[in-house]
Amino acid sequence: MPMIEIQHLRKEYRDQSNIKVAVKDLSLELEQGDIFGFIGPNGAGKTTTIKMLATLLIPTAGTALVNGIDVVRYPEQIRSIVGYMPDFFGVYDDIKVWEYLDFFAAAYRITKDKRPQIVDDVLALTDLTVKKDSYVESLSRGMKQRLCLAKTLVHDPKVMLLDEPASGLDPRARIEIRELLKELQAMGKTIIVSSHILPEMEEFCNKIGIIESGEMIVAGDVNTIARQVRGQHTIEIRVVDGVERAEAILLGMTDVIREVKVTNGMRQLEETPTEAARAQILQRNTHGVGGGVLQIGYVGPVDEEYRVLATLVQAGVKVRAFHTPETDLEDVFLRVTKGQVA
């Protein structure tokens, strides 16, 4: 049974006499342990979808099940298994960190005798133990963000809905949040996380969905989507010596390689060689001028990738690394979206 199952979800808002559709016919399935990156421009419908799953908004049509439970029929049960972190949130004044967490633990019906241990545990997990007796308004933005995440964890939810958890944070705080999400992933939580910082999403999301104007344009495994969208996927080859020779060989493999990008250190030699340049390189067919990195747009079958490596090795190119780098989500995002809002 999927942990999250959304079928034809729709949300309309009445805007005076007009009806504004925030989410149109959205369907999605996530298994336990999935980390789903929800990507889309502002106003695309990400927050609305997350709020519907968090039982804060009622869908106009469609169904949403979390762990098999309908979010509209059984909101109370859903709240016990879902942790929600809004995109914009505040903290109460005149309240200490442990009191803040104790209050939310009480609000999630955790008995008084269990609360101190739970508060200690979530503080340790979010690395806020030293701030236990501090007042929440004295915390930095990053710490408040972690405190909010700690609040989201007090009732040990199976599903976490995190709306822009790293927005507005400095790089260090973003890294801290990212590491925390990886820990949660290791704990088996199913997480839906929306963010605009796409490179970071690549690191911990195993699935992504791109939404625009309330419609899910693509959803699924990150690499599969990248391949679907671009019609190719990138392979990065690092060579110790013979970079030009390697380039010449790769450019000759036109049946499986669409483009070759060569970099030598920080210097980019050739991005998209013209036909004349390509012919010139092929004719030279000389040994290279040193080591470098080549990125190729591979369009052949995935299980035949090894042939590219074999060809290079047989030709005497000293290959140091041959791998598929992290997918460039920004590129995927820009290709599939049109910059429209719902």
Partner: protein, 299 residues
């Protein structure tokens, strides 16, 4: 109610006033202490220095009026920021996404803020009772039961109107997004409409109420807190005064229950968004549908 996390937070955490500077705290405490001291001094002197019954009676009635003014001024405003403050500091969504029942949120906030009003009334209680007991001792020609009635009616007016105005402030706080708007709307309704508006309407219509039973025949006056207090403290002032006050208190009690019902039902539908909130009839049908679905699923 004791285990209500919202009530606990409101009472023991948010009233710490940690961010209020110490000199301000001391200044306010001194102001309250001196004001109350002067009030007690002059009231006690008025009661003790004369043997006239009217003074003792005047003292406790004045105290009741002062308390009514305090209720009118403070009750709407102490609750008007209850929910708007949560919305403004962006804690509201996180609160209603928990497993708290709507009634816990509403009553937790209402009771915590009403405690402030009750504290104010408690400060007046000794001097009020002192004046009342003295007037009872001096005015022996009036039956004790009648005096007990006027005290009961007066306090009933105070307490029931306090609960109503506090509930109305909370309702406004739930309805709008800004504290200032909630306070303005609460004051407009409490003072502008109930206190002044109903009086003006009565003035305009008084040619229709020429007989002595005008109080019970003019429902617009039933909700005027000043009239209720005037006839509560002196039931002997006009015919059917007691009935009139009881009618008024019933209206306030029903109004309070209606507001609470509306808020709890609104929360039940877990939708804080005005645009998304369907009409009450639809909500009731939704509740019935969900209850039916649960029954079917359980079966």
């Amino acid at each position: 109610m004791i285990g209500n996390p919202v009530l606990h937070k409101e009472l023991f955490m948010r009233l710490r006033l940690r961010q209020v500077p110490l000199p301000v705290k001391i200044g306010v405490a001194l102001l309250v202490f001196v004001s109350l001291g002067l009030l007690y001094y002059f009231m006690a002197r008025a009661v003790l220095d004369t043997s006239g019954a009217s003074n003792a009676r005047g003292v406790w009635q004045t105290c009741m009026w002062l308390q009514l003014i305090a209720v009118l001024l403070f009750a709407p405003v102490v609750t008007a920021n209850c929910i708007t403050q949560e919305k403004e500091q962006q804690t509201w969504e996180m609160l209603i996404a928990t497993r708290l029942k709507p009634s816990e949120v509403v009553f937790g906030k209402l009771v915590a803020r009403l405690a402030v009003i009750l504290l104010i009334l408690a400060l007046f209680l000794p001097i009020t009772l002192f004046g009342w007991i003295n007037s009872v001792l001096v005015e022996t020609q009036i039956a004790f039961s009648a005096r007990l009635t006027e005290l009961s009616l007066s306090y009933a007016v105070l307490l029931i109107t306090a609960v109503f105005f506090a509930t109305f402030g909370l309702y406004m706080s739930w309805q709008v997004k800004r504290t200032l708007a909630a306070i303005m709307l609460s004051y407009t309704f409490a003072i502008g409409f109930l206190l002044i508006g109903t009086f003006l309407v009565f003035i305009a219509l008084q040619f229709r109420f020429t007989d002595s039973t005008f109080l019970v025949k003019c429902p617009i006056l039933w909700v005027n807190p000043a009239y209720l207090m005037a006839y509560g403290t002196s039931p002997d002032r006009a015919e059917n005064s007691t009935l009139f006050v009881v009618y008024g208190l019933l209206v306030y009690a029903v109004g309070t229950l209606a507001l609470l019902w509306r808020m709890i039902l609104g929360f039940f539908h877990f939708s804080y968004d005005d645009d998304a909130a369907p009409p009450v009839g639809e909500r009731l049908r939704g509740m019935a549908r969900r209850a039916q679905a649960r029954t079917t699923d359980n079966a």
